[in-house]
């Protein structure tokens, strides 16, 4: 039985522009993954709780409001406290300058505007299954 990848996709913070996260959620589903979509206005606590209960293989965050540093920091801290070690991918409006620091923090991948579904799916599978697909 092929392992089904379980992905939690959500938008932390106050940003409500969810076209990207919804469309990516659909693409991941069409690629055979089980997607738990949490919607907008999620607190970091809610997101981490979901990741824990759903035993997610990977967490996808979408942030367009510029609050990504603070929010990712909080989420990663909470995951460490709960001893969850789940990889994270991030999309939205993320200045290139911030990417190195985000990766140092623990974000595995940042997808900028214009990234194709194909690339996202490929990379998610790579991160979760540990092999180049």
């Amino acid at each position: 039985m092929e392992k089904r990848i379980r992905v939690v996709v959500g938008k932390p913070g106050l940003d409500g522009h969810d076209r990207g996260s919804k469309v990516v959620a659909r693409a991941l589903r069409d690629a055979g993954m089980e997607v738990i979509y949490t919607g907008i206005r999620q607190t970091p606590e809610e997101i981490v709780n979901t990741v824990l209960q759903e035993d997610a293989d990977i967490l996808g965050l979408s942030i367009l409001s510029g609050a990504h540093m603070k929010l990712c920091q909080k989420i990663i801290k909470l995951m460490k406290e709960k001893e969850i070690n789940v990889p994270i991918f991030l999309g939205g409006i993320i200045p290139a300058d911030d990417i190195p620091e985000l990766k140092k923090m623990g974000v595995n991948e940042v997808f900028g505007p214009g990234t194709s579904f194909e690339d996202i799916i490929k990379r998610v599978k790579e991160i979760v299954l540990g092999t180049a697909v």
């Binding site: 522009h17 919804k22 979509y37 200045p95 214009g114």
Partner: protein
């Protein structure tokens, strides 16, 4: 009869042309695509003729500018009299910094202000609220109290400059603040000009800054209509928006249909509350998107005007001509701009802006080329403004009204978009109206389907985006300087709030908030109570929390 014969002859001639001349060429040089489609999937013919507009009656369907059904424009002179308002959306960090940017833009020739608020302000959280952490001042200016508003409009004469505020759930509060600032400047309420977006339905559909559930939200909007149509006759009390719906992935027909359906819902709610559409109808305005397909967009704007005029006249029996007119603001489509090769965006914005002008917009915002990277820098904001000025002063299209009328394609498309939009509106009527349609997730689903299809087309390169999926450049191009919002804004705002709470009359604030709570729980109009609370320097968060207690909070529950 003779006319009909001529048309039939023409149809035959076109068929002949198609079979002989056209096919001959295509057999040797095939067309670029099998089918050419509009954003809403209509197949476009290679060529259009009078036969394609034979059912259109000039007098009835097109008419003259400034006259029903306003297809050609809501004013008889349009830009010959006065250009559209060049109104660039701006705002970030603190009131001090935004004030500086506004004064710069006004000096550079901008003719109206458009205020962008940060997310905490839009969602009713003070800068020191837990929910605001990391978000203060990021996507717009942080306004926690009247004090900030006074700084925001320092040296900006509110009797001369019209102010548009992109604020929805908390618009009653910001409108009250604007009135209070005006008062301090000696400007009477009835002199104030501007707009509040105040369109909650599209928040549930596409934008997400809702606070309360639909029913209380509609009540607040109607309160604002009632209060505003009496006290702020020159103010647009709502900007019924299609921009965000389009940005969320809708096609042109859905943009028009869902926006008009929202409008219908608001008018119905107001009428139900006892208001007269002949009165509040003149305080309504709209907000549309200017997207890529140049010709489709021009047709779309014309169709929208016609539909609204008919809706107000035939459905709501409005007799005041001013209330039949669809006045609108346009913004060029942010979602079409790329992070790759950002300078290309200047060209995209130019074409989109031009379509809005040819479509007869009353007010326009052009995006900056760094849209996909961050908030506009001063340089990029200036270029965006210049784009409008060049179109206005140098292109010649503003020398006559509705110059593209009569084009077979444009008139044909205008009619087609009108018909298709009306089908959607009927469907929504059958569902019980827009509020119902939104509650069931129907609208959101339609939009998401369009969004997904659009993305697939890009991935398959059926739709080419220059510089992004085609004609790309290798990495290593010069990085574009972007605007960074200083994170110290949050701290500064927090201390401002602390200071404010120490020097204001806290007893007065409590009193005003209690009165507001009572009014909100009853059927009274809450506007005067909000105005009082604002003048006492109650914070935005304090006022919103009172309303949260009474109205409850909305939680998204739908949809994919």
């Amino acid at each position: 009869m003779d006319q009909e014969n001529k048309i039939n002859e023409l149809v035959e001639k076109k068929a002949l042309w198609y079979e002989k001349t056209f096919k001959k060429t295509v057999s040797r040089f095939p067309e670029r695509k099998k089918e050419f489609k509009t954003s809403y999937g209509k197949v476009v013919d290679p060529v259009y003729t009078p036969a394609d507009v034979k059912d259109i009656d000039y007098a009835k369907d097109i008419g003259f500018p400034g006259e029903y059904p306003y297809t050609r424009g809501v004013q008889p002179t349009m830009y010959r009299g006065r250009f559209w308002t060049m109104r660039q959306y701006a705002g970030f960090a603190s009131a001090e910094e935004s004030n500086k940017r506004y004064r710069y833009l006004l000096e550079q020739g901008q003719t109206g202000l458009s205020v962008a608020f940060d997310l905490p302000t839009q969602i009713g959280y003070d800068s020191d609220d837990e929910m605001s952490e990391g978000e203060v001042g990021k996507v717009g200016v942080a306004i926690d109290s009247l004090k900030d508003m006074e700084i925001l409009f320092d040296s900006i004469p509110l009797d001369k400059v019209s102010v548009s505020m992109t604020i929805n759930s908390t618009s009653a509060i910001l409108l009250s603040m604007l009135m209070a600032v005006g008062e301090k400047q000696g400007v009477r309420h009835d002199q104030l000009r501007g707009t509040i977006q105040n369109d909650i339905l599209k928040e549930y559909i596409a934008r997400g800054t809702y606070v309360f559930p639909p029913d209380p939200s509609m009540r607040v909007i109607v309160d604002i209509f009632e209060y505003g149509s009496k006290n702020l006759p020159k103010f647009n009390l709502i900007s019924i928006s299609g921009y965000h719906i389009r940005e969320a992935g809708a096609n042109a027909v859905q943009e028009v249909a869902f926006t008009i359906a929202d409008g219908i819902a608001y008018v119905e709610a107001a009428i139900k509350a006892g208001l007269d559409p002949n009165v509040f109808g003149t305080n309504l305005s709209f907000f549309f998107n200017a997207h890529n397909n140049f010709i489709e967009e021009i047709s779309k704007f014309r169709a929208a005007r016609k539909i609204w005029a008919k809706v107000m006249k035939e459905r709501f029996h409005v007799t005041n001509e001013e209330a039949l007119k669809l006045k609108f603001h346009t913004q060029t489509a942010g979602s079409t701009l790329t992070a790759q090769q950002p300078m290309n965006n200047i060209i995209r914005v130019t074409m989109q802006a031009l379509s809005a002008v040819l479509g007869g917009t009353q007010s326009l915002h052009t995006n900056s080329f760094d849209e996909a990277l961050g908030l506009p820098t001063q340089e990029s904001a200036t270029i965006a403004l210049r784009t409008q000025q060049i179109i206005a002063y140098e292109s010649g299209v503003t020398d006559t009204v509705d110059p593209f009328a009569g084009s077979y394609l444009i008139e044909h498309l205008t009619k087609d978009i009108e018909e298709k939009a009306m089908e959607y509106i009927k469907k929504i009527d059958d569902m019980g109206g827009m509020v119902r349609a939104v509650e069931t997730g129907y609208v959101q689903k339609e939009i998401l389907n369009s969004a997904y299809e659009a993305q697939l087309r890009i991935e398959k390169k059926e739709d080419v985006i220059v510089g992004m999926n085609e004609f790309t450049t290798e990495k290593g191009s010069k990085p574009t300087p972007i605007l960074k919002v200083d994170t110290s804004v949050e701290e500064k705002q927090k201390s401002k709030i602390k200071e404010l709470k120490e020097i204001r009359d806290n007893n007065l604030v409590s009193e005003k908030l209690s009165s507001l709570k009572l009014a909100a729980a009853s059927k009274e109009n809450i506007m005067p109570f909000i105005y009082e609370a604002v003048k006492a320097y109650a914070t935005l968060g304090e006022i919103t929390n009172v309303l949260r207690e009474v109205f409850g909070e909305f939680r998204e529950s739908v949809i994919l």
